[in-house]
């Protein structure tokens, strides 16, 4: 039953499914109490954020996303996640006003992103490493008892279309042929 939530997998720990809090750990050695729904680390400002979005909206009980720990240098993944929740993405799929290096959301559709923005509120505890303060913030969210957002939303992973069409200027992989000895050449040349 637990697997219906969090269908995109990743590096996380499940706790209480009907809790309203998910915790995102940046650079921090901290284990939240099992009163939260799920917690895990965030490293990258693109694929990492996509997994969080997909796994959060599949559990409608999650209404708060507590983002804590030292910000990931260069990637600025924590602030990019908060920017996504606040601003969404532009038509190039870039998170609006995200400070990260490559803050692009490419594998999840805009409906899922809007659902994420509506379903959860982010609690910005970036650069907060005091575990007591984080615990207090989590407890405060739990006390709010916001209730479920409704039905789970299962985000579909957008998969690029595979092609073997030689006319396609983009798909070059399919143009490589290897003979039985291992000699490689481009097909059609």
């Amino acid at each position: 039953m637990e697997n219906k939530y969090y269908p995109w997998g990743g590096e996380f720990t499940r706790c209480t499914s009907n809790s309203c809090v998910a915790v995102v750990l940046l650079n921090i050695e901290y284990m939240p109490s099992d009163k939260v729904a799920i917690y895990g680390p965030l490293k990258t400002e693109n694929i990492g954020i996509e997994k969080i979005v997909a796994n959060v909206i599949s559990n409608p009980n999650i209404r708060y996303l507590v983002v804590c720990g030292e910000e990931i240098r260069g990637h600025r993944s924590g602030m990019s996640l908060i920017a996504l929740n606040k601003n969404g993405i532009d038509d190039q799929h870039r998170i609006i006003d995200a400070p990260g290096a490559i803050p692009y959301i490419e594998n999840i559709n805009s409906e899922a992103i809007e659902r994420f923005r509506s379903q959860v509120k982010t609690i910005n505890l970036i650069d907060e490493k005091d575990k007591n303060k984080i615990d207090i913030a989590i407890d405060k969210c739990i006390k709010e008892k916001p209730g479920s957002f409704g039905k789970p939303y299962i985000a579909i992973r957008i998969v690029p279309e595979a092609t073997t069409n030689l006319e396609d200027q983009r798909a070059l992989h399919s143009k490589i042929v290897v003979d039985y000895m291992g000699k490689i050449e481009k097909r059609g040349e």
Binding site: G74, H75, Y104, I105, R170, I176, K183
Partner: protein, 300 residues
């Protein structure tokens, strides 16, 4: 094991050659320093000497890859490079923070170290400030990472190199050439398990046949993210080191193998793989290994 129809470039930096047809040159191994905590020069020196000894023994060139996490670490790490590195040894600087990248380039210029610098890396997150700094303080060589967040397949990797997908104004190869970088290595961007991790290996022959440029990746990152390995006691380092053999097996030229402390396993295992590749490619494609190839040095 492969051979390419496209002519393969061999690039040189401070005496180290990277690239060519499989079986010709030994795989170049980048060992990472200063990943965690404060830079510790004495410890680093020990690791570095060990890596260079292994390099001498196997023939596989070893290049230190300095991870510069924050501004405060720029000065001590550049000092280490200037003072403690053998004077002719090339090195790479691995930086994620764009502002740190700019400062490091300026500092390397001031210390006259750019001719030995491999810039790690140019990717779709390149900023205008970084572009300007690269034009002003151009490193001898750069690693271009073909990470495409939308399409992680080999095709997607080609797309960012070719036209930048829609993430940059032009392709990463053009961007690199336009800032003045003449020697380009392609990193096929190894991603976590579940994110088409195998594509980083499959893309090696694709990219080499397309561009003829030296190609490799940090395949050990996939091992690092394979949490299930924790259920098997004591195997992580072995699997991490072994993952690198995929690179020469698929025709690649360099491996960014992660912590330099793993050099004791990585060098012999990659040398072993290089010998395997060389024996085949010489027999079937007539590619003779260079004098310092592991096959020449280790097979008596």
């Amino acid at each position: 094991m492969f051979s390419f129809t496209k002519e393969q470039e061999v690039l040189e930096i401070s005496g180290i050659k990277i690239g060519g047809q499989p079986g010709m040159y030994p795989t170049v191994l980048f060992g990472g320093l200063f990943f965690k905590g404060e830079p510790e020069p004495i410890k680093a020196k020990g690791y570095l000497h060990k890596m260079l000894d292994l390099s001498k023994k196997t023939g596989n060139p070893g290049i230190p890859d300095f991870f510069i996490r924050k501004e405060e670490y720029i000065a001590p790490i550049i000092d280490f490079i200037e003072v403690d590195l053998p004077k002719n040894l090339p090195f790479s600087v691995d930086i994620t923070d764009p502002s740190v990248k700019v400062q490091v380039l300026e500092s390397l210029h001031d210390k006259k170290l750019l001719s030995r610098t491999i810039y790690n890396s140019i990717h779709v997150g390149i900023t205008d400030e970084e572009t300007d700094a690269l034009k002003k303080y151009t490193p001898e060589m750069a690693i271009v990472v073909s990470f495409n967040p939308k399409d992680k397949s080999p095709d997607g990797k080609i797309e960012v190199l070719e036209n930048g997908a829609h993430l940059t104004s032009s392709g990463l190869l053009d961007i690199s050439k336009n800032v003045g970088i003449k020697k380009i290595l392609i990193d096929t961007a190894a991603l976590a398990p579940g994110d088409n991790s195998g594509a980083s290996i499959a893309a090696i022959p694709v990219i080499k046949e397309e561009y003829g440029l030296p190609t490799g990746c940090a395949i050990h990152n996939v091992v690092e993210k394979s949490k299930w390995l924790d259920d098997f006691e004591g195997v992580r380092k072995t699997v991490d080191a072994s993952s690198n053999v995929n690179i020469p097996l698929f025709g690649g030229d360099f491996a960014i193998f992660g912590p330099v402390g793993n050099a004791d396993i990585v060098f012999p295992i990659v040398a072993w793989q290089d010998i395997l590749v060389s024996e085949y490619t010489e027999n079937y494609f007539g590619i003779s290994p260079v004098d310092f190839h592991p096959r020449r040095k280790l097979l008596k």
